[in-house]
Amino acid sequence: MLTQVDRGGGVSVAAPVSHFYRCAASTAASRQHFSDREESAAAPPVTSQTSWIDSAFLSLRFSEIDTRKINNSFLRDHNYATEADIISTVEFNSTGELLATGDKGGRVVVFQREQESKNQPHRRGEYNVYSTFQSHEPEFDYLKSLEIEEKINKIRWLPQQNAAYFLLSTNDKTVKLWKISERDKRPEGYNLKDEEGRIRDPTTITSLRVPVLRPMDLMVEATPRRIFSNAHTYHINSISVNSDHETYMSTDDLRINLWNLEITNRSFNIVDIKPANMEELTEVITAAEFHPNQCNTFVYSSSKGSIRLCDMRTSALCDNHSKLFEEPEDPSNRSFFSEIISSISDVKFSHSGRYLMTRDYLTVKVWDINMESKPLETYQVHDYLRSKLCSLYENDCIFDKFECVWNGTDSVLMTGSYNNFFRMFDRNTKRDVTLEASRENSKPRAILKPRKVCVGGKRRKDEISVDSLDFSKKILHTAWHPNENIIAVAATNNLYIFQDKVN
């Protein structure tokens, strides 16, 4: 339907790929297979060990925290972790039954929530490995002499359309559509060979056999369905599926492209902020997302701390925004680092579509989409780092891209910090909590203890001094179940799943 002619030269026709992809590397994995960890060496890069701990948080009312229990899954339970194992994205599907993670090694691991069973009611809520597959491989761009990493930058689930599940995964350059489907029957009976595969003498065939389908152990298959490539000159930082169920957008540093989910050889450039002269470049796009139910509206955030809301109804090219959300800078706080720390690393629409949440280096902000002049709410994530910006600049931590998420009712915000800490903010009570995702501190079914970072001189017991924070342990990616209090927290190579006490 869209007839816009590609612009800017970024979009080009891909190699002659047919509409149909054959699965060269589809990973078939049976669940039975996974439960036996010794045997699973060939398939998953992940082992799953579930334990229960008493823990603390996640209630919308923080007063009840201590009575809650949390289910904590350790994944990737290695003593050592390679770079490839570092989790780079976490995403629940629309029902929360599935949870997908992507890692720097280009792998996608999908977890499925355990079904309710009478014998072990508490096991409901545990997530087990459902499917593992290699989504992206390292590549080399010979024209530009550039290595293209296999790291999965983002995963987005598609709305469910039939019994199979579909997700989009992207690395820096290429978006792929994956189908994850189950198979529980297999055909039996050949004419020319017997059940053991021995060839029959063709002269003995006196009647024809039609194969019959017989039940078998459940198999989960991941198949690549579409590959959307050659449309991005810069690195893709976001993908977002439109509520029209037909299109999605992919965003790189300077451009946003709109794709039809069924068409891989053309996309439409809708935003292009590339200046004619690259030396005049002052701003890049850091994230973008579609409105959850208005198919025409999307937002994108920039490295200068602004958020632009665009309406695709107005024009085919959305270079001119409809709204610009920006907070005037406080001159008293101005420093060398002001611009760096005001760069927005993530922007998310609330489920209702009314609010926007943005994350910059030190804060999380909530914006009302009807008020452009200033945020509705501002929460300090780790203000104690303000005095340490200099050393954070030197070790590059200041450029870390923290993401942020809403809970199912848009009343609690969650985002990550350092030292394996992550933060939650209750928008109604204005209370907040710092929690730690670490194996040492969480025993099965224990309550997660709130942590405190000591800012002043005197350190109380249980408090951690700012100087002893481990900046290599950062929590960049988290996810919140769409309608229950279950969260997934990626701490480098470990995935932690916490939930409200079940019984």
Partner: protein, 596 residues
Amino acid sequence: TKLDDSKMAGAEGDDSLYPIAVLIDELRNEDVQLRLNSIKKLSTIALALGVERTRTELLPFLTDTIYDEDEVLLALAEQLGSFTVLVGGPEFVHNLLPPLESLATVEETVVRDKAVESLRKISQEHSPVDLEVHFVPLVKRLASGDWFTSRTSACGLFSVCYPRVSSTVKAEIRQHFRTLCSDDTPMVRRAAASKLGEFAKVLELDYVKSDIIPLFTALASDEQDSVRLLAVEAGVSIATLLPQEDLEALVMPTLRQAAEDKSWRVRYMVADKFSELQKAVGPEITKTDLVPAFQNLLKDCEAEVRAAAANKVKVFCENLPEDSRETIIMTHILPCVKELVSDTNQHVKSALASVIMGLSTILGKDNTVEHLLPLFLVQLKDECPEVRLNIISNLDCVNEVIGIRQLSQSLLPAIVELAEDAKWRVRLAIIEYMPLLAGQLGVEFFDEKLNSLCMAWLIDHVFAIREAATCNLMKLVEKFGAEWAQNTIVPKVLGMANDSNYLHRMTTLFCINALSGVCGQEITTKHMLPVVLKMSTDQVANVRFNVARCLQKIGPVLDSSALQAEVKPVLEKLATDQDMDVKYFALEAISVLALA
């Protein structure tokens, strides 16, 4: 390979079951190509199994094979559409429903659409009773399915069963369609909107007014513009069904609203469907409503919409009622067209350029000279090559009205500029229009102004241009005749045989390949052959093997004495060349020309 071996054995034996057994086994071969092969020969399998076993064994198996690759499923969906005879005729046609039903729920749109197409086809083979007992329940199941894939498929099936069922079932079908039009999923609403027009066609007029119109109005004001834009097309179909007096009240308010929709995509759709719309609503509404609407679309703030409208200028003007056509064009349309000629967007200008020449036939000589010619001249000087090309490619329309001479002064610089454009695709495009231009400008003008261009392309540094230039020469000779060729182009082409660049020497050979046929035996033997033969001693192997290929190509044009006396010795010599490729092509030529 074992299978292949045994296949050979089977083929030698007399067991007629064997090939079928192979086909059946290959239905589940690991190689998708073999599975696809088997599925494409499904009718052979079914024929061998007989109708009974096809129904009881083959179809149940196929119903559950929806795990396969899309290509296989697509082939299967297609096969099943013509399977009625193979399951025992119309009496048993409902046996085909289960596999098609499961194919109608897969995620791949092409497969689903094919399954729906086959279902529509076999619905006609159902008796009225079977339709209600088997087919309608399937449609209802799909329409109330959990997944939106099945509901979208259902949308395409209502119109085929509706005319052939009882009034009770008709009411149910209408109800199901209504439900789908307000489905939660935009995918389903879009599917329903796209089938609304088709469904309206099979409904009784009263129900069109009472059922379809409200649905149309609702879809046309859907919150998603992707749904609204599909309602435009439905509106066109509905408008053709309604009597003129109802149009104003029932359809026009919605269509007017669509033409002014906030979303450019909806306005684009209106512009894109404008000629259909014009036909559907008739001359009166066209005059009162569509003319102002069209003006607005031509002035739309979104370039996409302007381009779509610009594309329709000619057709819209053509279909205006005759009595007021000229007045409307001159007072309402032409002013907008004039503005578009200097539009800021090149796609708009080039869309206009592709149709604007067509207006001259409608407006006649005087108006063309006075009003259109200045516009053509502006477009011929446009900065965007596509605009100029579009004007040049449509010159024939103007030629009929005012003769091309009026234009030729401006035409020539435009052509020369395109011919030397830095982008080879632009040069390629203009070459393709050369024969057309030559025909219209006449041989004299051509020789004077364009001939040198055509020769210059032969030494272009892009092969595609040289190749197109060669082909162009052939077409020119077809137009102007062999004598012209001998006097103008053949000497120049043959002159290139002595060029120091081997690529240019090869171009001579390629030209001879193309020209020998149209120039005829005499010119070929007398003028071309000696040059070719002389080139057989070229020091570049590529030239030598192209000599061999050239001789093979022009061989049929030569008489047999020339072949034996002149061509044969040269080819025999080339066949002993030290270069492998030269040898190969020489031997090939010898065998094709039967000179051995």
